[in-house]
């Protein structure tokens, strides 16, 4: 089995509103993949379907080769899951919660957990509810890593974390994933953190899959050009090619998997006459915003 997660033709609606449109993608074993998109794009809906908290209207998901809605106990032991907001049993202290979870996982390794906990400035009997957001995130991360899972799903790991804790989280994830080729699927809105973390990116736009590629390919090939034009141009987005035309103050931008010549060809096809296109240097976050658009 090479793919640890497979989504096939996922469609889902909340009432009459369709939120996922024929989504298909897979996560190969040993890769770290970022599931990205603006608020309301369908990321959490997908995560909920993967964790069997939602039944899709149609389509299916496989985790470790098993249907997501009917995972065996063996499969569940191999999947670590971080709930959005680092939710845990806040009425327990760090020792009580470790004692609780250790009973469910055969490969439980307390050393990893207590190694992370030792970095926190807490007392042994301090309840998790009295910890800061960053400290709670480390407790949640330690509990997941101690399970020794082969697949981890992080639903917005960065929520509420300051840059220090975000960096610590990323460093720990990278070290852990590299150690034994573990697979990780994560979502986050802090795109700049992901540049040195993820191998692949899956990008949603209003429930549609608009990018499914390696990070290097996306960063190198998705380009943005600025241009001026005397005529008024309506902003547009072609979901199939990922080509977006937007207005930016006194000039316009065209973004896509396009060379300069190809960008000119697209504009000419639309009857847009312009002077020379200027290449815009972009970070990953800039490329993400160029693809998904600004509010």
């Amino acid at each position: 089995m090479n793919d640890v997660i497979t989504c096939e033709h996922l469609n889902h609606s909340y009432g009459t509103k369709q939120v996922l449109h024929d989504i298909s993608w897979s996560l190969p074993k040993g890769r770290i993949c970022g599931l990205l998109g603006r608020n309301g794009a369908g990321k959490t809906t997908t995560i909920n379907i993967l964790n069997s908290f939602l039944t899709p209207t149609s389509g299916r998901c496989l985790l470790l080769g098993e249907p997501s809605h009917a995972l065996s106990h063996k499969a569940k032991r191999q999947i670590g899951y971080l709930i959005e907001g680092h939710v845990q049993y806040s009425f327990m202290n760090v020792h009580q919660i470790e004692r609780f979870y250790s009973k469910f996982y055969e490969n439980w390794d307390p050393k990893i957990y207590f190694h992370l906990i030792s970095k926190l400035d807490i007392t042994p009997k301090q309840k998790i509810s009295t910890m800061s957001c960053g400290q709670r995130s480390q407790v949640a991360l330690g509990l997941i890593l101690a399970q020794d899972p082969s697949l981890i799903i992080f639903d917005d790991y960065s929520m509420g974390l300051d840059p220090g804790y975000r960096r610590l989280f990323i460093d720990v994830i990278k070290e852990y994933a590299a150690a034994d080729h573990r697979s990780i699927l994560l979502t986050s809105h802090i795109i700049q953190d992901l540049e040195n973390l993820i191998d692949d990116c899956i990008i949603y736009d209003k429930g549609h899959l608009i990018a499914n590629t390696s990070l290097s390919e996306f960063s190198e090939n998705y380009r943005s050009y600025s241009f001026t034009c005397p005529q008024t141009i309506e902003p547009s987005f072609d979901r199939t090619t990922g080509t977006r035309i937007e207005k930016l103050k006194d000039e316009y931008t065209i973004s896509g998997y396009l060379s300069v010549e190809e960008a000119n060809a697209v504009l000419n096809q639309k009857g847009i006459q312009t002077e020379a296109l200027k290449n815009i240097s972009m970070s990953l976050e800039d490329a993400f915003i160029a693809l998904t658009g600004k509010y």
Partner: protein
């Protein structure tokens, strides 16, 4: 792997203080009733107490009717309110236990704690009664108080159902159904009032015990929104 022990441990950490407080409160009230019986016993002759019991349905323990029910609803609320906040119950469903088994084990823990709170009180009342009243009275006490215990169990189940259900309309239905059913278990005007209904009430209670599985199933499938 003994998952039940782990779940019991978690719920114990969560509820030990409220359980302790409720146990003390229940025992204190039961003791108060016993002291009242002692007072009546010391100032009245034996045949007057008998007469009061047989002809006037003087059930000295009747004030204890609602306390098990209130205790059960408090336990149910404290146990499951934490689980539904921030959808924390996803942690339970993610455990390698099986979702239905996990919910049932949580319920069994809740019922064990409920028994730990209420059964010592019934026992205290029964033992103290035996100093003044015959064995027939103790047996009658058991049959008279059993519907209250069933009411407590159902109070726990309906509280759990109400909290696990996400749909507001269903919540209203659950609240009305629970109130209607439980109310009908508490019309104790005479000893052995429900003697011939105990088996049906018991069977219904056992059937209702499994209804939270439906609410948790609906939550897992996203049907409760």
């Amino acid at each position: 792997m003994n998952y039940f022990k782990a779940i019991f441990y978690k719920e114990w950490v969560k509820l030990r203080i409220p359980v302790g407080i409720l146990l003390l409160a229940n025992l204190a009230f039961a003791l108060y009733l016993c002291i009242k019986l002692r007072y009546v016993g010391n100032f009245n002759e034996g045949e007057k107490i008998w007469s009061g019991w047989i002809f006037k349905a003087y059930l000295f323990y009747k004030p204890y009717t609602l306390l098990p029910l209130v205790s059960a609803m408090i336990i149910g609320f404290l146990q499951y309110n934490v689980e539904i906040q921030n959808k924390r119950i996803k942690l339970v469903f993610h455990l390698p236990v099986g979702e239905e088994k996990a919910i049932l084990q949580h319920q069994i823990v809740g019922l064990i704690l409920l028994c730990a709170i209420t059964l010592p009180c019934y026992l205290l009342i029964a033992i103290y009664s035996s100093f003044y009243l015959p064995k027939e009275f103790i047996v009658s006490l058991f049959y008279t108080a059993l519907p209250w215990f069933f009411a407590a169990i159902n109070g726990y189940i309906f509280t759990e159902l109400f909290l696990l259900e996400g749909n507001k309309l269903y919540k209203v239905f659950i609240a009305l159904l629970g109130f209607s059913f439980i109310r009908n278990l508490l019309y104790t005007e005479f000893y052995n009032t429900y003697l011939h209904l105990l088996w049906p009430i018991g069977i219904i209670t056992v059937a209702l015990f499994f209804t939270p599985l439906l609410a948790s199933y609906r939550f897992r499938k996203g049907l409760s929104q």
